[in-house]
């Protein structure tokens, strides 16, 4: 008797629940497995509680797979994603092709003017934002204070690469498992070439001249690559040609490197005693320079964008404005700790007392990002945007190909000169085929 009465009630309740769920729009967010994104995913409930009409569905992929997947979907108008995670490299290129929804009508309380200018510019096309920065980074130098003290080294305010070589030679101690310096060697446009491009920039080189002629066999490239190869072969860890960001992060945090020049986003991880055994010995300095300070440190940001194929652009916009807002940053700071907040996007983050107190590297990072200028990163004029990359669609393949040749010079499979000659020829071919050269 009771059961028969209860059943219709349960039925009505179930229908009611389905009806509420049916009103909620589900948006699919494609992203990478970086720590900051994992935190964003873990805050899904907070977002859904504040926006009951939107539900989030996450697709997390490996960086290169994600890029390939997004490109396929966007180029074929597949409409599988409503929010995608892209970088400073893709944003202007994809925006130019009309693949991204322009974000020119953001609500006032979003405070777009609070976004760091170089980061904002990097994600804009014709002055209009096409992606919102989730976190940003530049590059800087990390070193071991204890080893430097023992060797009697005093770090200058703006180190030069000559000084860095000298310091690396003095802290190099392979018998005790310490390499003088760790640098990226793993081939890839976003791996070794991100670092190598900044080195070439500061040695006075550039990827292309104003007529798009490749400059890879120029004296500046020769000098920079020879310096890089010698430095790593003399004072680097064994097998440096297979080390990317993660491998070097592991080496440095285990105490196997004296110096490391890489992304500012490593600072939070190296300062975390749970992840790093050298947290209390961490010193930092600006990225070293050589001939010119121009382009000596990079600028990158991971950003959230809406593909033009999305059928729910309004809901997607609500989500990306939330995930890149000042409120979100404060939410992360309060719930996950202030060193975990996504860095490098907003002035207000750096004005926050809690952040400044807990992240002593904050001012450094802010300064590095503010001083990175993607529009003017080479000593001689160049026709492209980007510090550690060239903002043209062909660069992914060019960068990776040249990266492999630089790695072959590092392992000794070819000389620096041979490597750069073949890199020059390969790049010329690609540029000819793409129609930049006659």
């Amino acid at each position: 008797m009771k059961l028969t009465r209860a059943l219709p009630l349960a039925g009505i309740a179930a229908v009611g629940a389905t009806a509420t769920a049916a009103y909620a729009e589900t948006i699919t967010v494609a992203t990478v497995n970086n720590n900051d994104m994992v935190i964003m995913q873990s805050l899904t409930d907070e977002f859904e509680a504040a926006h009951p009409d939107i539900e989030l569905d996450w697709v997390i992929l490996e960086e290169n797979v994600l890029r390939q997947r997004l490109t396929t979907d966007i180029a074929t108008d597949g409409g599988q994603f409503d929010v995608m995670t892209i970088g400073t490299y893709e944003a202007p290129i994809w925006a130019e092709r009309g693949w991204l929804v322009p974000l020119n009508d953001l609500p006032e309380d979003y405070r777009a003017d609070d976004l760091l200018k170089p980061v904002r510019d990097g994600l804009s096309h014709n002055g209009t934002l096409h992606a919102l920065p989730f976190y940003g980074e530049s590059s800087m130098m990390f070193y071991r204070k204890d080893l430097f003290e023992q060797a009697g080294i005093e770090v200058s305010k703006q180190p030069t690469w000559e000084e860095v070589r000298d310091w690396a030679s003095r802290v190099h101690d392979p018998d005790n498992g310490v390499a003088g310096i760790c640098l990226r060697g793993k081939p890839g446009w976003g791996e070794n070439m991100a670092f190598v491009s900044t080195l070439v920039n500061t040695f006075g080189g550039r990827w292309f001249d104003e007529e798009w002629n490749p400059q890879i066999n120029s004296p500046a490239w020769q000098e920079a690559i020879q310096f890089y190869v010698d430095l790593l072969n003399d004072y680097g860890p064994a097998g440096a040609s297979s080390n990317g960001f993660n491998e070097n992060l592991a080496l440095f945090s285990r105490g196997n490197c004296g110096i490391w020049v890489d992304a500012t986003s490593a600072a939070g991880k190296l300062y975390n005693p749970g992840e790093s055994s050298v947290a209390d010995q961490l010193g930092f300095a600006p990225a070293p320079i050589a001939e010119t300070p121009k382009g000596s440190h990079w600028l990158w940001s991971w950003a959230l964008a809406i593909p033009s194929s999305s059928e729910k652009p309004e809901a997607a916009k609500t989500f990306i404005s939330w995930a890149t807002s000042q409120e979100y940053i404060e939410l992360v700071g309060e719930t996950q700790g202030w060193t975990s907040v996504p860095p490098g996007t907003r002035e207000s983050t750096y004005a926050n007392e809690n952040y400044q107190r807990e992240a002593p590297f904050a001012d450094f990072v802010l300064h590095a990002i503010r001083n990175a200028d993607p529009t003017d990163s080479t000593l001689e004029p160049s026709p492209y945007m980007g510090v550690q990359f060239v903002g043209i669609p062909e660069f992914q393949s060019i960068g990776t190909q040249v990266g492999q040749m630089v790695a072959s010079a590092l392992t000794g499979d070819s000389t620096v000169e041979q490597a750069l000659q073949s890199a020059q020829r390969a790049t010329e071919r690609t540029m000819q085929r793409a129609g930049y050269l006659d």
Binding site: E62, T76, Q80
Partner: protein
């Protein structure tokens, strides 16, 4: 006399001893050979299994221990499993894998059995050519047809659906399935089917009551191979799905990280992803080996 008597005795016992010695030597060589083969077998198996063993081990390490000097001694932790479990709904991905792998295998067998039957028992002069042509489709790099298939799927609404993946996997495995079934069917004496026909069996009855029961081990091992191939397939599953139909390969892919340490979590996720198919392979290994060696000795 005594000596005379003892001599032959001695020589007999000598002969026996020599015989025994020879026998022992023969046994020795045989035993040594067997031992050698056993050691070789175990070594090869060890080499093949080592990466899986190391992966399982890494899943129980901390992230820091996972990238430290390789070591067998460490204090095991479940922290990676907890992290992996907290991040994604394993069972949703696993369910997709099961449905897609078994669905595509069933569909492939359904299409391949009649076609292998006709090629094995009613060959024409084009049969060999057709078989080779079917196999040649496996030689095309899949990325070459990604965009056309993506567009087709988009237009018929098959993107991110299990049905879409089942269709693609069926097409992908069909050449191998047809080939394997063809070789198994060819080994079956035609007379048996003819006898059935004499007794008035229709083609369907012939297939259902004679061919299938007689070649069941072969069909089973073909099916198992198809399940394993579909389970492990990563290219299409990553490119044609996003969230609803994503199988375990997409689940594993989500734990690789461009910034930050991830080896322990990736290993934990991979261990969970291969566990069902490992157990499945283990339970059915008798069938598999029997099927794969079926007809090998003629």
């Amino acid at each position: 006399m005594t000596t005379a008597r003892t001599k032959p005795l001695a020589s007999t016992s000598n002969q026996a001893a020599i015989k025994e010695g020879r026998h022992a030597a023969f046994m020795n060589t045989a035993a040594r050979r067997r031992l050698g083969l056993t050691v070789l077998g175990w070594t090869i198996a060890g080499v093949i299994f080592f990466p899986i063993f190391w992966m399982v081990l890494t899943g129980f390490k901390t992230e820091a221990a996972a990238i430290a000097e390789p070591s067998l001694i460490f204090s095991p932790t479940l922290e990676s499993y907890t992290a992996v479990h907290g991040r994604a709904d394993y069972f949703k991905f696993a369910m997709n894998s099961v449905v897609v792998a078994f669905g595509s295998t069933l569909l492939a067998l359904l299409i391949a059995i009649p076609s292998a039957y006709s090629m094995a028992f009613l060959p024409t002069k084009r049969t060999k050519g057709t078989l080779l042509w079917m196999l040649s489709t496996k030689m095309l790099p899949p990325v070459g047809v990604l965009v056309p298939i993506y567009l087709l799927f988009r237009d018929v609404g098959l993107l991110d659906t299990r049905t879409g993946l089942i269709i693609v996997y069926t097409l992908m495995n069909l050449p191998i399935v047809v080939w394997m079934l063809y070789t198994f069917f060819k080994d079956l004496p035609k007379d048996i089917l003819e006898a059935g026909r004499m007794d008035g069996a229709s083609t369907l009855q012939e297939v259902l009551f004679l061919l299938l029961p007689l070649t069941l081990p072969g069909i089973a091992s073909t099916g198992l191979l198809s399940v394993i191939l579909s389970w492990n397939e990563a290219f299409w599953s990553l490119n044609l799905t996003s969230s609803n139909a994503a199988p375990l390969t997409a689940y594993i892919a989500s734990f690789s990280s461009p910034e930050g340490l991830f080896w322990a979590k990736l290993s934990a996720a991979s261990t969970m992803a291969i566990a069902p198919i490992l157990v499945f392979g283990w339970l059915t290994q008798k069938q598999m080996v029997r099927g794969l060696t079926f007809g090998a000795v003629k």
